[in-house]
Subunit: 313 residues, 2 copies
């Protein structure tokens, strides 16, 4: 079997079916794929079918693809059987490097050598996971967010031995499967979103540890505060708006020095002219001709829609 | 004049009417208050009325209070006139400590001594701002989020010389004015939400500086990823769900060691047993009897509502 076109994949193997792997199973089924699942845990099939059943009403509301059916899920005791005929392997075993290495090597031995093997790892680089694979060129990271059946983002990045064609194929596969894909040129621990989320989480832990805020205050400060903006504009465009008509350039030039304020235990990045220019240029590209006024209207309409959708108006 | 009950306030003075102060003006008008505004900038009134006009359709959609009218805005050239008869002063001048100190002292001299003076500062503690006030007991921080007319959060915290009754009064005033209030016991630079937001922002700047991700990738990683969860559950409850049925306790006990992973340039908090227990107990309080399954359903329904509301289904 040669590698199919990304849009021609019909059958996916899901290796490891916990919260993330099981979420992938539910998503792939809803997009009309046949799913062949394997997980060594004793009650894995019961838990998996429970997870899929729980997710199904949400997926139905989102709108399923032709052929979407929970009957297209088959669970196997034997890994080789699960992999037979699969045109993509989604690996989602627990986040332990030894385990990932061993499992990927085993999958690599058993699966057709043309099939792309994508790992859901939330933090390891493929370079450190692919070391025992006979065909590391077809291994890649395809990192989803919980729940994988609802959050669009998938971060795609290869390892040192990954064939660039594998990265391109995986990115296109996820896009055609309905995901929002970010392709990273470089391996960085935690990729993008988890690094950002982790920075926030660490500061939150410091605040609890120091008695500066309670768990409830931390959560409410986000859900009632900046969290209402983040589904609409990310942190960069958010600060682009904070700069008023002058946008990010004004923001960095006037508030840049406050980067040195003792907020958070994260060492501040040095605001070099190059960093300043890169951030300003990026915001201009994102704005794509929309003025700050346009973006403010977009944000306001979005916040109202989100508040309304959450029954908080 | 003695201090009114928080629910009896009719007239608010807004000192400084830029993006934040002007946003407050729009919000207070929409809640039916009379607003007396002052700002020394030459074109301040034109910009303020433009900001209020731009915000008004959004506020109308949110639902205004009886008496809400843009005609209830008066703009004064003279600070003393603006303060005359005001029952609360909302100070929102630029974020410079000298300026804040001088302005607060001047407002303190001019305003009726019973009137609470609340500062929109996004990072200074009231202790460092109230030093030149003759009546520092009635000064307090009431920190909103941009845009103040849509984001519910207001963080309330006093300084060393603030009367505790002022903190309680301000918290109740903001609640009765429709805000979601967090009262902090301790002054910490950046309060809660800005510290969290700043941690994320600093990591984002590091990533751009290192060439690890573009501005667009950073924003998309949030708007298509964890940003979709944050209007529903804050960072703590989000990780409570990531622990599966075992919740935050399972999460911390199993993934705690990964705190040491080289994600973000923020030094990791030491996960002491006390910190572990405080975080677990806080999540249990927040869950308030809801199982992880209940919270998963809540999150899924929320994400679908948010995606639908943003036209992304």
């Amino acid at each position: 079997m040669s590698r199919p076109e990304p849009g021609d994949v019909c059958t996916v193997a899901c290796v490891g079916t916990g919260v993330i792997g099981g979420g992938w199973v539910a998503y792939y089924l809803s997009r009309g794929f046949r799913v062949r699942a394997w997980d060594p845990a004793e009650d894995a099939e019961v838990r998996l079918r429970h997870l899929v059943d729980r997710a199904w009403p949400a997926l139905t509301r989102l709108g399923t693809a032709p052929g979407a059916s929970r009957d297209r899920l088959e669970v196997f005791d034997d890994l080789a059987e699960a992999l037979a005929g699969a045109q993509l392997v989604q690996e989602s075993v627990p986040e332990q490097l030894d385990l990932k290495r061993r499992l990927l090597a085993e999958v690599d031995l058993l699966a057709d050598p043309d099939v792309v093997i994508s790992s859901s790892t939330s933090g390891f680089g493929m370079s450190e996971m692919q070391v025992d694979c006979a065909h590391p060129g077809r291994t890649v990271v395809g990192h989803p967010f919980n729940p994988p059946y609802l959050i669009p983002l998938v971060e795609v990045v290869g390892g040192e031995l990954t064939d660039p064609a594998t990265v391109a194929w995986a990115a296109e596969f996820y896009r055609m499967a309905g995901k929002s894909v970010i392709v990273l040129d470089r391996e960085v621990p935690g990729f993008v979103a988890n690094r950002l989320q982790e920075a926030l989480w660490r500061e939150a832990l410091h605040m609890v540890a120091e008695g500066e805020a309670t768990v409830e205050q931390i959560d409410r400060s986000i859900t009632e505060g900046p969290g209402l903006r983040w589904p609409i504009h990310g942190p960069m465009l958010t600060f682009h708006l904070a700069g008023g008509p002058g946008g990010m350039a004004h923001m960095l030039d006037h508030f840049g020095p406050s980067l040195k304020s003792p907020w958070t235990r994260l060492t501040a990045a040095e605001l070099t002219p190059a960093l300043r220019d890169a951030v300003v240029a990026g915001c201009d590209r994102e704005a794509a001709g929309r003025t700050v006024d346009d973006l403010v209207s977009e944000r306001d309409e979005g916040i109202i829609a989100v508040l309304g959708a959450l029954g908080r108006l």
